[in-house]
């Protein structure tokens, strides 16, 4: 791992001054132990190609991305792109589920890495403090879809638009091409998922056929494209239909970048 990664983490730490963590418990130092693994995944396993990182707005910003691949490695890679290649390096914050704070160790680990409980209040606070936030408005509908729906954007939630309007935050659409193929789910065993209390139980060509080995994500090539920032004006408490029109603008922007990315890629694995 190059020294520049450590320098980038130190830059984030310097922003905190002499405080041990920020208000949410984020401590950039905590990234260091896992930085080599992240860097290896980013550079050598998924060989991420990130474009559009120049000219991203400084200060608060909402990154809105498509969501795919059964486990949120797409979020992790977007975070890595902004940390390893952003100008300046940025620690993007993402939102965790409501049960995460009840888990010992996991709750602390996530908090130290800058993951925040997903409530509208927390998003607002983070944005007002000038942090970048990553959201996946498709939620589980997107990440757990089966492979026959690959690169079909699912319905978008409207919450992010309300937040953007309320806090006057620019939205940067992000398209991730590649993650769909890391676990091409043929079937979602819903009864099993329900029994285990999981959001989904995907069956892929390799899992459960190859046992634990089948759990490894395929070494697909990730292409992450950051789009032009979009600014919206209007009443955050407008009716859903009017908000929906604005949400569609973002969704269409992501869709266009996805289709372009798919056309331009020559192969799934390189």
């Amino acid at each position: 791992m190059p020294d520049s990664v450590i320098d980038r983490i130190d830059r984030l730490k310097a922003e905190l001054g002499d405080r041990p963590t920020d208000d949410f418990g984020f401590d950039p130092e905590s990234i260091k132990p896992i930085a080599p693994a992240l860097h290896w995944l980013y550079r050598h396993y998924f060989r991420v190609e990130a474009t559009g990182l120049q000219g991203l707005p400084a200060g608060r910003v909402l990154f809105v991305s498509n969501h795919s691949g059964q486990i949120p490695l797409d979020g992790m890679m977007i975070g890595c792109a902004l940390l390893f290649e952003g100008h300046p390096p940025r620690a993007v914050r993402s939102m965790v589920e409501r049960w995460v704070p009840t888990l010992p160790f996991v709750s602390t680990f996530f908090a130290r890495l800058g993951q925040v409980l997903g409530t509208p209040e927390n998003c607002r606070t983070l944005l007002e403090q000038g942090h970048p936030i990553l959201v996946f408005p498709e939620g589980v509908r997107g990440i757990n879809k089966t492979y026959d729906k690959a690169y079909e954007l699912q319905a978008f939630g409207h919450g992010f638009m309300r937040l953007a309007l309320e806090t006057r935050t620019p939205i940067v659409p992000v398209a991730v091409v590649g993650a769909e193929e890391q676990y091409p789910a043929l079937w979602n065993a819903r009864p099993l998922a329900r029994a285990l209390g999981l959001p989904a139980a995907p069956v892929t060509p390799l899992f459960p056929l190859l046992g634990p080995l089948g759990l490894l994500p395929l070494p697909v090539k990730y292409r992450i494209r950051f789009g032009e920032p979009l600014w919206f004006d209007g009443d955050p408490h407008d009716d859903e239909a009017r908000l929906g029109d604005k949400v569609s603008v973002v969704r269409d922007a992501i869709d266009a970048m996805l289709q372009e990315g798919l056309e331009n890629r020559e192969h799934v694995f390189w």
Binding site: R19, T21, D23, G25, P101, F105, T108, L117, E121
Partner: protein, 310 residues
């Protein structure tokens, strides 16, 4: 400005009196005596629930009442707690109305929101008061807080201020100060929530700010910048003992029953979940800024520990 302070003989009441007696004419009301009080503090030894107490208010000519006469003894019976706290508070409210006292300051606590996994990082004043769902002893304080809120609406001629400070640290005897004064501090393994604490003198300053004419309403009061619990413990220099969370509560419950601890079991949720507040409205309205940072607050706590050891 002439101010009646109920519960002045308590640790916090004494602190408030010592800090403010040169600026204001203070009149203490408490059923306990305080013989070593500053000479310029007038004291009435009377139970707030007694009829005789009204005489103090009748001829008092008070400009404000600071109501601190709230029992926080988790060992006291819930009935005694309830009658003392709720009846005492409603009495004080009656006196304010009958004797035209223009200001009432109530000291509630940010604990009324309760530490909960689904709490946003910073709770605002309109967040629901969920502290009682797991910890029944706090219901009194919630009831008191709500009493204050309904009084606020019913009697607009009295400026009612309800303050909800975060964990108060200092010479006071409360769960967070007692906890951080321990020599070996137990913690829940794997949990390290962000915590806000406030120096006891900053709470006095907040009360003083609440006395400003025109200030009314419910306000959160935060102190130092939030830090992880582990950082707070590290600053005390105490040894940390990690307990698995699923053991901590049953064990603590047994210890409590055997009177071996002063910490009620449900309070361990404070070591697990976040219960922090946003106090921007109070700062904007009154200009309140805490004067003590975390270093000074923790140094003050360490001093109080030394004093206790002596």
């Amino acid at each position: 400005m002439r101010i009646a302070v109920t519960g002045m003989t308590g640790r916090f009441g004494r602190l408030l009196a010592q800090a403010l007696h040169r600026k204001y004419a203070l009149v203490g009301i408490d059923r306990r005596a305080w013989t070593t009080r500053p000479v310029d503090v007038e004291m009435h030894q009377v139970d707030i629930r007694r009829q005789r107490c009204e005489d103090v208010f009748r001829g008092g000519g008070f400009d404000a009442v600071v109501h601190l006469n709230v029992m926080h003894d988790p060992r006291a019976s819930s009935e005694e707690h309830h009658t003392f706290n709720i009846r005492g508070t409603t009495r004080v409210m009656d006196y304010c109305v009958r004797h035209r006292i223009p200001k009432l300051v109530l000291l509630s606590s940010a604990n009324v929101y309760g530490p909960r996994p689904e709490n946003p990082q910073f709770l605002t004043e309109d967040a629901p008061l969920m502290g009682g769902t797991r910890f029944s002893e706090i219901r009194d304080l919630i009831a008191l807080d709500m009493c204050g809120q309904s009084f606020f609406w019913k009697h607009p001629d009295v400026e009612t201020v309800i303050l909800r400070p975060v964990h108060i640290l200092g010479a006071v005897k409360n769960a967070p100060s007692n906890y951080l004064r321990l020599e070996k501090i137990p913690r829940l393994a794997g949990f390290d929530p962000m915590i806000q604490v406030v120096h006891e003198l900053d709470v006095v300053r907040a009360i003083e700010a609440a006395l400003l004419p025109g200030v009314r309403g419910v306000f959160n009061v935060a102190g130092c910048e939030p830090v992880p619990l582990s950082d707070l413990i590290r600053r005390t220099g105490a040894e940390i003992i990690d307990f698995p969370h699923f053991l901590a509560e049953p064990v603590l419950e047994q210890l409590w029953r055997m009177r071996l601890t002063s910490f009620p079991a449900p309070e361990v949720d404070h070591l697990r979940y976040v219960c922090m507040v946003d106090d921007a409205p109070f700062r904007e309205r009154t200009g309140y800024v805490p004067a003590h940072d975390l270093d000074r607050t923790m140094a003050h706590l360490a001093l109080s520990r030394l004093a206790e050891l002596r």
